[in-house]
């Protein structure tokens, strides 16, 4: 991320350049400091809505939820300090561990499949240089609506008994009798819903593919490399920053799946806890059972888990993400 104090504007110098209008004499001499103060003031003024949001709606609530994680709190009476009680309870809460398990499976299995699909289709589209705009848009559409309640309802209908998926499979002699009521089939159904939304990472992959210089492929061809070799030795390394970016954002997004799971399970987490994803359970604890302290503790466990995941990705990225010298 280029925060870029390097390209800080240097107007003072420019205004003295020949060829521009004659500089206002009052604005020379002892000016940098005054300009600095004015820029500071202007900066904070322009940033004021964002700053207010940062402190009142993000940082403040974060700290307060950290406090709540160590309390017993039901929203009607004041929070009561309870030390590590919430975390101890969590350790012995089998429903909690169930939700952790299905969420981890969803993140660790679903995301790689989704990204593989995204990369595969991006390469397919990149094969041609023209006439792909329509397909790019068509494939992107599910990403825009996939997390909506409408699609969750449609997904549920499609995978129910007598739905199109089931009757399609019965043509091949597979009779599952609907996926929605079967706990073991909920996860494949949810992962399919995630994979269906491969469009957003695909668009990002496609933009990355277009930036790979064609000379690299030509050089590889001269060296006798076949398609697979080119993929491994040119495409993947050159695309690694984009892969890293997609992996990070998609995994963090997958942890937070809520609406689809909530609708498909009718808000109950059922059948047999199969739709009780982490955030669904957190919501139930907080707003159905009024256990705000416990839910805050869960929220912080999620935050730390996401933080650890991001940390691992960043640490290992040094060995597999290649930033080209001149690509910036």
């Amino acid at each position: 991320m280029t925060t870029g104090s390097a390209h800080a504007p240097t107007h003072t110098r420019h205004s003295a350049e020949p060829g521009t209008r004659p500089a206002d004499p009052r604005r020379t001499g002892g000016q940098p400091k005054r300009k600095g103060n004015r820029e500071n003031l202007a900066g904070y003024l322009f940033l004021s809505p964002w700053l207010l949001g940062l402190f009142a709606l993000t940082l403040g609530p974060m700290l307060f939820s950290l406090y709540l994680a160590f309390t017993d709190y039901n929203i009607f009476t004041a929070p009561e300090w309870s030390g590590l009680a919430n975390f101890e309870r969590m350790a012995g809460d089998t429903i909690f561990w169930g939700s952790v398990q299905i969420t981890l499976i969803y993140v660790l299995v679903g995301t790689p499949i989704k990204l593989a699909a995204a990369l595969g289709v991006a390469m397919l589209l990149n094969f041609k240089s023209k006439g792909t705009a329509f397909f790019r848009s068509a494939f992107y559409a599910p990403s825009l609506i996939g997390a909506s309640v409408s699609i969750a309802i449609v997904w549920r209908a499609m995978f129910s008994a007598d739905g199109p998926v089931d009757s399609g499979l019965s043509l091949f002699g597979i009779n599952l009798g609907g996926w929605v009521g079967v706990p073991a089939l909920i996860m494949p159904m949810m992962i399919l819903l995630a994979v269906w939304q491969f469009g957003a990472p695909m668009v990002i992959f496609l933009a990355g593919l277009k930036q790979i210089p064609t000379e690299l492929y030509e050089a590889a061809s001269v060296d006798g490399a076949r398609a697979w070799r080119k993929f491994l030795s040119v495409t993947l390394p050159m695309l690694s920053p984009v892969i890293f970016f997609n992996l990070l954002l998609e995994m963090i997004g997958a942890f937070q799946i809520f609406a689809s799971a909530y609708i498909i399970g009718s808000g109950t987490g059922g059948p047999a806890g199969a739709t009780n994803f982490y955030t669904v359970y957190l919501y139930t604890r907080a707003f159905t059972n009024n256990q705000m302290g416990y839910a805050s503790a869960m929220a912080w466990v999620l935050l730390i888990a996401v933080g650890i995941l991001a940390f691992i990705l960043f640490r290992t990225s040094k060995s597999w993400v290649h930033y080209g010298g001149d690509t910036k």
Binding site: E39, F46, P49, W50, P61, P142, V149, S221, W300
Partner: protein
């Protein structure tokens, strides 16, 4: 297919010599490519096609008619669905969703463009730190904030109003938009700003007369995303809106789904179609802006 020849960059340098031998093979590859991509498109768009087709099926055909098309197409589902749920007519849900969506667009465009101008063009103390924090909020799981935020709005007596759902939009809490606009402003030539400054323009004037008109594409992209995300948002309304009178579409859909999914698929699917219609319309009109917006997002990450 002659599309390859028209683009010189796609043609490898050795092509002219082997043209005679390569053309049939290239044509064959193109045919395979087209078949593959069309099949893929059909699979990806199938759920949407199915949903539209199913919304015209009478409820009795669910389960009995396994075919894609309805045997006796009817608009009964739509007529029935417009009556509404819980005594509230369906147009009211559309109205609530529209207010929330328009409010989200106005708030997001104003607050995010201001923040982006500060990050991209102004040199103030603490900018690198704040910028890092802004990027950090991109990765922050929203669920850490919902309980304290709920307490704040509850203490302010704002539960069951639209205020909690809109205030964050006016405070640029969605870092995606700020980041998108920062990227856009950084790519604008600085000379214009400097010329205006020499002419005596202040920052507000530069922002309003130079930056805002030039970042119009980013503003359009942000507006559409802000509207669609607000339109689709489920968790926010679920947390804050209790009375059916205030329900936006996602909450109404949920009530429909829970009440009638077993008995009345037709109506439930019909209202799902209606709820997605504005989004799909926006998408068809503005797809370019949306897809390009997503593409630029990743490039500098």
């Amino acid at each position: 297919m002659t599309t390859i020849e028209t683009n010189p960059t796609a043609v490898p340098p050795v092509q002219p010599v082997r043209k005679r031998r390569q053309t049939p093979r290239k044509t064959a590859a193109t045919v395979v490519w087209i078949i593959g991509i069309v099949v893929l498109t059909a699979v990806v768009l199938y759920p949407l096609m199915w949903m539209i087709s199913a919304s015209f099926k009478p409820s009795s055909e669910f389960g009995s008619n396994q075919g894609f098309l309805p045997e006796n197409p009817t608009v009964d589902n739509f007529v029935k669905v417009m009556e509404g749920v819980a005594g509230i007519p369906t147009w009211k849900f559309f109205w609530n969703s529209t207010i929330l969506g328009v409010g989200a667009v106005i708030g997001t465009v104003i607050s995010s463009s201001m923040a982006a101008y500060a990050f991209a063009r102004l040199d103030f103390k603490g900018r690198p730190l704040f910028f890092t924090m802004m990027i950090g909020t991109l990765l922050l799981p929203f669920h850490v904030l919902i309980i304290p935020q709920y307490m704040i709005f509850r203490n302010l007596g704002m539960v069951d109003t639209f205020f909690p759902l809109l205030v964050g939009k006016f405070l640029a809490t969605e870092a995606f938009f700020v980041f998108l606009m920062v990227q856009f402003i950084r790519n604008l030539p600085k000379e214009l700003d400097e010329a205006a400054r020499i002419d005596g323009c202040g920052h507000w004037r530069i922002f309003w007369s130079i930056t805002v008109p030039l970042i119009k594409p980013a503003l359009i992209t942000s507006s559409i995303f802000a509207f669609i995300w607000s339109w689709n948002d489920f968790l926010g309304p679920l947390l804050y809106l209790n009375s059916p009178d205030n329900y936006p579409l996602p909450l109404a859909l949920r009530v429909f789904n829970d009440q009638s999914s077993a008995s009345d698929y037709g109506a439930t699917v019909a209202i799902s179609v209606l709820a997605l219609l504005p989004v799909m319309l926006f998408f068809v009109i503005f797809q370019r802006f949306l897809v390009d917006g997503v593409a630029t997002q990743g490039l500098k990450g």
